[in-house]
Symmetry: C2
Subunit: 217 residues, 2 copies
Amino acid sequence: MSKTDRHIAMPVIRRLPRYYRCLCNMEQNGIEKISSRALAEAMNITASQVRQDLNCFGGFGQQGYGYIVSMLRGEIAKLLGMDSKKKTVLYGVGNLGRAIIYHFDFEKFGFELCGLFDTNPELVGTELGGLIISDDEELEKFTEDHTVDAAILCIPTTSAEEVVEKLYAAGVRCFLNFNHFDIKSRYPDCVVENVHLSESLMTLGYLMTDKSNSAEE
Amino acid sequence: MSKTDRHIAMPVIRRLPRYYRCLCNMEQNGIEKISSRALAEAMNITASQVRQDLNCFGGFGQQGYGYIVSMLRGEIAKLLGMDSKKKTVLYGVGNLGRAIIYHFDFEKFGFELCGLFDTNPELVGTELGGLIISDDEELEKFTEDHTVDAAILCIPTTSAEEVVEKLYAAGVRCFLNFNHFDIKSRYPDCVVENVHLSESLMTLGYLMTDKSNSAEE
DNA sequence: TAGATTGTTAATCGATTAACAATC
DNA sequence: TAGATTGTTAATCGATTAACAATC
């Protein structure tokens, strides 16, 4: 069992995108090498944590020297699967869907947006970001011609159950989910990343209300 | 020092919106009382954790009986500040901004959206969700007439620094932030809730790539 | 009273931090 | 070689889980 196969804690995984972003910034600023101490400072964590985190995946540094920024960024990019092209469909081309279509750099992150679906007949057939929006009903036909590795669900909770059922039947097992339907409970073999925007507003509501406001993240 | 004043751990705070949602569902389904065990099951956590969490804020239950759903929901709503009306402005009326304007139930969550700002001259002056979009430059004048308790930043990282500076100067200290500018580092006295959508896609990328996929959240 | 279930204390588990030997 | 900084083990801290006395 190699080091890379060991169980990686979720907090570590959730820090990877931040490491990646930090290292990109540094690379752009022409910084070629970085110590765990300096990287930690930039991330608002401890140097120990940086070294522990990176060592979950193998030694990317050089003792007595530090880490080479471009190399470390590349290794983290690989961990995040950025060197692949995961075929992805997006369901629900409302404002949120469009925000994602326009602002996510799918290519960079290792995804390829290859299908848009909506139920609104006014949207179906129109073009967006180089793709024609398909009707919900066309999914089955679509999955015959295309592999679909992941689905992004920008649909309301009310229609999520039905949509996920169809996608699951079509073999899709990975979801970026913006509604409150609990995919993982129904389909435990799926990989699901949930984003609950309203929870963020509620959390802010708590922090603004909280009297003992000692302000942390 | 009352129980309510004690330091509340961030994981507990982040579970509050989930409790709230769960209890709303139960209330709608006509469930009047609930045990920590049943609530835990619905939330995919342990009964111990439910009781520990709720006891951070005082005893909402009855020994030997359980919790009254409507009462507990009400208490959590209060904790989340839902009984207040925090005057809020939104910056950046692009797709993401519109998604939030249309889909967030501000009133319900204790917020009142009272101002929209953008720099795009084509948008300024147009109406959206009952509000006229103002030019960025009008903020100072706006804050003379209105109290602004919080700002939602649906703007790119590149313009965030400047916008936050203006808002801070105008007295705003609470932010729901969707870009990568680190408000908290620059202005430590602010309350900030960050939402980094791209990190969610990258995390999904990791989970899809990860060979030792033992699937957890 | 007996049964149920909370509130709370104690035990465990996991994540973060500190320390230091390895080594560049 | 001396200084620096990693990789890794050990110590600490904090969060979760278990246990049980209190009490409805």
